[in-house]
Symmetry: C2
Subunit: 361 residues, 2 copies
DNA sequence: CTTAGCACTCCCGTTTCCTGAGTGCTAAAG
DNA sequence: CTTTAGCACTCAGGAAACGGGAGTGCTAAG
């Protein structure tokens, strides 16, 4: 059944009303919100119809209506007005984006904090969606017993490690090693680094002291953790202010779930999408997210890689505001990190793609 | 008034009983716990005396007793038995400590997680208590438009940054810059880097393109943030399981407080102490910590610097277990990072120092 | 199709009541 | 002087009872 214009208006009002108040919306409240010129009885008839069709539900007889997942989905896909960010909001975002001058990890942490502040929901960032490969290896000689490995990965992530050796090495050996590593390891991902390769590298560099394996070990570990890493969460505490997380147990489960970066990285599994993706309640794969919603925006992280920035909140979340803000931030990040210097097409524009659009007739 | 042996026994029982159950302890419960061979009436008399002296209090008439701060203090200073870690506990700690092979930041994050797991309280780590200085600057040439700055600080922290230039530079310029920076900046802290110094460095290196100021900017920023940074928190969600944080508002305030690394760094302000320090409730400087307790252990971070690892929990926290675990972890960290290769004296030994020991007669 | 009217439902905040754990005090016993 | 038994008293907190009010569904008329 196709919804009439009035029904859409009413659904719209119920969703936004519920987003505002977290309380079921009754016929009178709908009347107030829509400005419709009919009586509450008419509204009641329409509400009954929408309930029958599965867009709304009642917590109990004689309460107002609350949107179902199907109702939210329709709202997000069709009804939601693209929210324009106000001048001050865009200014704030731009200011914050340009403020961070440090490394990429810090940048992402800062951007996450910013998303939290703007939306007042916990924010997640995921830097490297694909698995990284080696771009370059450098070794800085400090003294006979110590050196620094500097590893440049695709996505322009730089990792380093200070190594103290229990024996002495020489600057020439390290220089040689650096050259051999660059020759042998450039472009490799973690799986491609085999024990044989390490052995042949060791021979090629004439390393008799086992420095090679120290370096190779660092490469492997970094590549391994960089796959799932780059995940970052901030603002978990904000959940506690929401009425739906007043139960400490519920809050605990979710916050705990979010504090494991493995779980965050798993969000990457969300199927391909263009700009902004909204996952409502049970549309989420993870059990722990089944009664929350996740909004994700993807950005261009350079080197052909994509990153994600998103927030987690109750299903009753202000999707339009959140989507607009995340989209804008993602656009800014793409500009900052993306391949070309020019802002990517569609920057700041909002295109929602969702889960299976299960709005049936 | 000096407490009698029996009174101490009773106080001991009340504190540990309350730590266990989070419920006020009555005369019968004391009897059970101490195995004392007297009647509950006698216990009641003693409880009344301890209450009069300010070691205990009653939530309301006709409830059991709860320790006051003064009671906890006496317990921590005099009564608490040094808890020996079990073999499996020390093994677990050792295994985890040796497991982490990455950079220092990651190590501290991992150690924090470990402390959370072991104590089930939120854990904090603070890496660099004192402000760091430059030990060495290296510049890695990538291509005409990009290079990596690698900065080695006291405490063997390594920081890096990949810089993209909007113009071209040359490898020789970068090599020269690296040399000049090492000559001019080694040993300097953030305040000592003046605009004049930067200008003279620029001249000395013959840099006409402003690369010098990019590098100097990174140094300044890194030194600045490294002062308060190195702060790390994990396991905040664990608070939500505790009965004293069932009020979401209370939990929110504390978690929020902990999520600002500025606040964590402020814990450094705690006066000098030897091994483990316990701050009970209002002994804390920060308002937000006034009804929680903090246990801190300090470790040798090398280069004459000290770091802190600690946990935050309710005043009713298992001080002896927590102190023992933190002390052991700190000992392991000192061994790992500390100046000498040999384990520092007193490793694994437990010496408590507290706030002003305000146990008055 | 809309609307006024009305009976009905049921959540939720308040009040009342009651039970039981635990106390303090007194008076006798050691 | 200390310990103990006995007893009256207190009070938090859960269970039950209550009432108001928001909101519904239905019917019958416009």
């Amino acid at each position: 059944m196709e919804l009439s214009g009035r029904q859409k208006k009413i659904l719209h009002a119920v969703v936004e009303g519920y987003i505002d108040t977290a309380e079921p919306i009754g016929s009178h409240a709908v009347l107030d919100r829509t400005g419709l010129t009919c009586s509450s009885a008419t509204i009641r008839n329409e509400l009954a119809a929408l309930t029958r069709e599965g867009y709304l539900e009642q917590p109990h007889t004689s309460a107002g209506r609350v949107p179902t997942v199907k109702g939210y989905r329709l709202y997000v896909n069709e009804l939601m007005r693209e929210r324009e960010l106000s001048q001050s909001e865009t200014e704030e975002i731009n200011r914050k984006l340009s403020g961070t001058a440090s490394g990429k990890d810090k940048l992402m942490a800062d951007v996450g904090k910013m998303a939290t502040e703007l939306t007042s929901y916990p924010a997640v960032t995921i830097s490297a969606a694909a698995s990284a490969t080696v771009k370059r290896v450098d070794i800085i000689y400090i003294d006979p017993n110590s050196f620094i490995i500097v590893l440049l990965l695709t996505g322009d992530t730089v990792k380093n490690k200070l190594v103290h050796l229990p024996f002495s090495s020489t600057e020439t050996l390290l220089t040689r090693l650096s050259a051999v590593f660059n020759a042998n390891f450039t472009g490799l991902s973690e799986e491609q680094i085999t024990p044989e390769l390490i052995a042949s590298t060791e021979r090629a560099a004439g390393d008799t002291m086992g420095v090679t394996s120290v370096i190779a070990g660092f490469l492997i570990e970094t590549l391994m953790t960089s796959r799932g890493a780059g995940a970052n969460v901030s603002g978990e505490a904000n959940l506690l202010k929401l009425p739906e997380f007043q139960d400490p147990d519920k809050a605990h489960r979710l916050i705990n779930y979010l504090s494991d970066s493995q779980n965050i990285s798993a969000l990457t599994a969300a199927p391909d999408f263009g700009d902004v993706k909204v996952l409502i309640g049970p549309e989420n794969a993870a059990l722990e997210l089944r009664d929350s919603s996740v909004v994700l925006a993807s950005y261009d992280a350079g080197d052909g890689m994509r990153g994600l920035i998103g927030v987690v909140g109750p299903t009753r979340m202000d999707y339009s505001a959140v989507a607009a803000k995340l989209s804008y931030i993602a656009g800014g990040l793409s500009r900052l990190l993306g391949a070309g210097a020019s802002p990517p097409a569609g920057f700041g524009k909002l295109m929602i793609k969702g889960g299976e659009s299960n709005v049936q007739k």
